[in-house]
C-alpha cells in the first residue's frame, strides 16, 4: 500500500478503473509562466493514451477541449527527465491569470500566484486543490507581472 503524497493522487475514470496521476509543476522560461506536466497510468502500469486522457477531462471542460484538443493537452518530452508527459498548453496562462490577478488586486486580497494558477488549471486534469491551500497566501504578492 503506497502512501499518497502531494504529487500522486488516485483518480477514477468512466470505466471505474483506478488511475494513478503524477503531476509536475515546471516553469517555462519561454512563456514565463508555470506549466503543468502530468502522466497517468492504470494500476497495472499501462500508461493512458492521449485519447483516454482527453476522455477523462471533466465534463464541464469538454466543450473547450473539443474546440481545439491539440491546442490544449498534448504530449511533450519532460525538459529534465526526457520522458513523455502530458502538458496543459501554457500559451493562454498569461491571459487568464492577468484577469484574475487584476480583480484580486483591486480587492486588495493576498494572492499566491501558484495556488491561484494551480487551482484554475489543476481541476481540468483531475488535480483538485484542497481549500486549505488558499490559506497559504503570503503577506506579499508574488512575481505576478
Amino acid at each position: 500500500q503506497e502512501s499518497l503524497d502531494d504529487s500522486q493522487v488516485a483518480g477514477v475514470c468512466a470505466t471505474e478503473e483506478v488511475i494513478r496521476y503524477e503531476y509536475h509543476v515546471l516553469y517555462s522560461s519561454s512563456y514565463q509562466v508555470p506549466v503543468l506536466y502530468f502522466r497517468a497510468c492504470f494500476l497495472d502500469g499501462r500508461p493512458l493514451t492521449l485519447d483516454e486522457i482527453w476522455k477523462s477531462v471533466h465534463a464541464c471542460y469538454q466543450a473547450r477541449l473539443l474546440e481545439g484538443p491539440w491546442d490544449t493537452i498534448t504530449q511533450q518530452e519532460h525538459p529534465l527527465l526526457g520522458q513523455p508527459f502530458f502538458v496543459l498548453h501554457p500559451c493562454r496562462t498569461n491571459e487568464f491569470m492577468s484577469s484574475v490577478l487584476t480583480s484580486t488586486r483591486e480587492q486588495h486580497r493576498r494572492t499566491n500566484y501558484i495556488v491561484l494558477w494551480l487551482s484554475t488549471v489543476g481541476p481540468v486534469v483531475g488535480l483538485n486543490l484542497p481549500l486549505s491551500y488558499a490559506k497559504l497566501a503570503p503577506e506579499q504578492n508574488t512575481y505576478a507581472e
Binding site: S29, Y31, W70, T74, Q76, G82, Q83, P84, H89
Partner: protein, 170 residues
C-alpha cells in the same frame, strides 16, 4: 512493444502537426512575445504545416518569412529560440533565455551563447578544442551573429538545434 514511457509515440500526422505547431508557437513567444503567430489566421498555420509536410518551399516560406521579421526600431528578436544537445549529460537539452543583442548594442555571437549557457562546450583542454558545435551537420564559425543564425539556419520549427559532439581525432 513500443516504449511508451520513454518515447513520444506519434500515432498519426495530427500528433506531429500538433507538436510542430507547439514548437512554432514557443519560438514566436520567444522572438515576438507571440504577437506574430497570434496575428496569423488558422489557415496560415495550416499552410506552414502543409508546406513542410509536402516539401513545398515557397508555400512554407510565404508564411515563415513573417516569423523571421522584426520591428524596424529593434535590431533583432527579443530572445533567440535554441536548444543545445550534448550526449555527455543526462539532461535532454539546454534551453534558456538569451538575447541576440547585448546591452551596448553589439550582436551576440554563437560563441557568446555557448560561453553563457554551455561553457564546457568551448573550453579548450590543453589548448585543444575537444568538441564540435554543429547545426544542420556543419560547424558554423563561433563568431557568427546569433541573430543571423536564427534567421537563416533555424530548423522548420524556428528553433536552432545545436549539437555538441566530440571532435573526430583522425
Amino acid at each position: 512493444n513500443f516504449p511508451e514511457k520513454d518515447l513520444l509515440h506519434c500515432h498519426s500526422k495530427d500528433v506531429i502537426e500538433a507538436h510542430f505547431m507547439a514548437c512554432i508557437k514557443e519560438a514566436d513567444a520567444l522572438k515576438h512575445k507571440s504577437q506574430v503567430i497570434n496575428e496569423m489566421q488558422k489557415k496560415d498555420h495550416k499552410q506552414l504545416w502543409m508546406g513542410l509536410q509536402n516539401d513545398k518551399f515557397e508555400q512554407f516560406w510565404a508564411i515563415n518569412r513573417k516569423l523571421m521579421e522584426y520591428p524596424p526600431e529593434d535590431s533583432g528578436f527579443r530572445y533567440i529560440p535554441f536548444r543545445i544537445y550534448q550526449a555527455t549529460t543526462e539532461r535532454p537539452f539546454i534551453q534558456k533565455l538569451f538575447r541576440p543583442i547585448a546591452s551596448g548594442g553589439q550582436l551576440h555571437t554563437l560563441g557568446d551563447l555557448l560561453k553563457d549557457v554551455c561553457p564546457s562546450a568551448i573550453a579548450p583542454e590543453d589548448g585543444e578544442q575537444k568538441t564540435q558545435v554543429m547545426i544542420h551537420g556543419i560547424e558554423p564559425m563561433l563568431e557568427t551573429p546569433l541573430q543571423w543564425l536564427s534567421e537563416h539556419m533555424s530548423y522548420p520549427d524556428n528553433f536552432l538545434h545545436i549539437s555538441i559532439i566530440p571532435r573526430p581525432t583522425d
